[in-house]
Symmetry: C2
Subunit: 367 residues, 2 copies
Amino acid sequence: MHPRLQAIYHIHCDARSIDARAHAIAAEQSVEMPLAAIDDAFVLEEIAGRVDAITDKQGGLFEVRVSLSAETVGHDPGQLLNMLFGNTSLHRDVVLHDVELPRDMLEAFGGPRHGLAGLRRRVGARARALTCTALKPQGLPASGLAALARGFAQGGIDYIKDDHGLADQAYSPFADRLAAVTAALRSVERPDGNPACYVPSLSGDLDAMRAQIAAATAADVDTVMAAPVIMGFANFHRLVRESPAIAFIAHPTMGGAARIAPPLLIGKLFRLLGADAVVFPNHGGRFGYSPDTCRALARAALDEREGLRPCVPVPAGGMTTDRVREMLDFYGVDVMLLIGGALLEARERLVEATAAFVGEVRGYAPK
Amino acid sequence: MHPRLQAIYHIHCDARSIDARAHAIAAEQSVEMPLAAIDDAFVLEEIAGRVDAITDKQGGLFEVRVSLSAETVGHDPGQLLNMLFGNTSLHRDVVLHDVELPRDMLEAFGGPRHGLAGLRRRVGARARALTCTALKPQGLPASGLAALARGFAQGGIDYIKDDHGLADQAYSPFADRLAAVTAALRSVERPDGNPACYVPSLSGDLDAMRAQIAAATAADVDTVMAAPVIMGFANFHRLVRESPAIAFIAHPTMGGAARIAPPLLIGKLFRLLGADAVVFPNHGGRFGYSPDTCRALARAALDEREGLRPCVPVPAGGMTTDRVREMLDFYGVDVMLLIGGALLEARERLVEATAAFVGEVRGYAPK
């Protein structure tokens, strides 16, 4: 018996059609042709997708488990996505809900190289929650972003990431931003001696990103942000594997809400490919994720099953300092809290607002 | 006035909320923070997204036009997607419906280099519709796929593409498949002297795809298939630009998960990045696209406005020879018809079934 992976779909469908739908998905995601027209025994026994279970979840929703040969994926993360959901993503009534992968595929993809422990170590934190903020708005020149970074660092923040809209624009090129922000952070003396970490956002094609990582490394920056959905899973994984000293924070932009379950896409798959931390929209912010979705996502990122290092959940998207206690009660301290806009809104009191956020996180004691 | 692009969203929303939703999207897709907290005049006047129009489409659907500074995108196709739909993709009730780009951005991205004329020239066709089929199922060894290719070529087909599930799997590595299929096609004498074109499917990261293109070129193959959504827009565009002799057929796999209108994603954006042909699910097949969606998609691919070369629409997904006349009546002859599974189902009569498909296309006279 060769190793197989299991794809778990949620399908809105009537009860009479579900059996045919399930088998159609199993064929679509494997041989993509009628089984009756296939003679080859290996293809029929190993390669063709199999419907392992159909469960009525009530209310017109069915859960379908399809097993696929791990050989159809090999060690290619793009092909993993292609096999799990490729053409079936074109059906509006199907959500890719979860996936179970064989151990050797988990080991081949490898997951985080730094993870929670690595991201804590970078900023001298032991067991506490980490803090993060974002440089924005795009359109500011590098010097303007650097001035904000200086204020955040003075306020005691751990990580300062680029807003995911910052790319290599003419009004603030990556190289200028990197030089200005790192110079600003070096100019700030902090009481505990630990510098704030700048996390520049990568953009462009794979080669452009490689050049950005080389520039970051030359500037003593060891943590970057990237968007796996936009750059492609295979290219994200490639960068991770060829940059062992760099920690990666994955951003969910273009991740869509509706068609791949967020705990799977952001919690499980981004981590599998090597994300050391994953940004996602917290419940009660600007986006519509429920508390259950957020809890499941954080669990998928941190869970120590399967031998992968824990990946830090980074709830974000309109968070404020007055929610820090509630968020830490909800997520625990194995988390990085990200507040961006609300600190920037403090304007000339940005340092104090940042210090208040940082103080709330560092002073937190679990109930 | 600097050049701007327009993003057009469809939002399911109640009438009282639409104004706030529209302005929230304009901010989310640009500065990603409250405008009230921004002082910089350039950011406020140029970079912040602007709501240009809100139209009630009835039934709880609104169309919102947001203009964004072209400078936020530069010439980065990944950043284009990020700016058009990045975080807003996380809202379930928003679809990215269309986009209008300034002329210099169209010229910078460049569109197809071969297009309809180039794909006709490759197979010695003048003004007729083109024919295409697919090698599958995955799991067959290279020799098995090559035997199918030989039969398709004997039947007179123009293009023989890999099924999009064929990657670089151990049971049929890319290099073996390329060697076996091209040898099989060279062995077939065809009455008009024009060989069938093999279209291998690229997989893996950007470097792996570059190696596959180099191998294809060495084997006299000049047309390949790739999946822009899986590999990332920037990497697809990079490959297109650095491979001027190669025609690219874009496959829509994973294109359904993003809630981008298919005419925009597959017709307009894939073409913009350089796809010479675009595969999409035809109405009445295995997928749920309507005739109107298919018509709009084909028009977006072919339309000569904007100075881009025409990109060939390739309706597919469960097509059969008895639909050829209807499809040509619907699309006209500026099209490539793709029938895969239905020809394979003919088994030992594959050559005859292919010849019947090809004959139907070549013998077609418009009404």
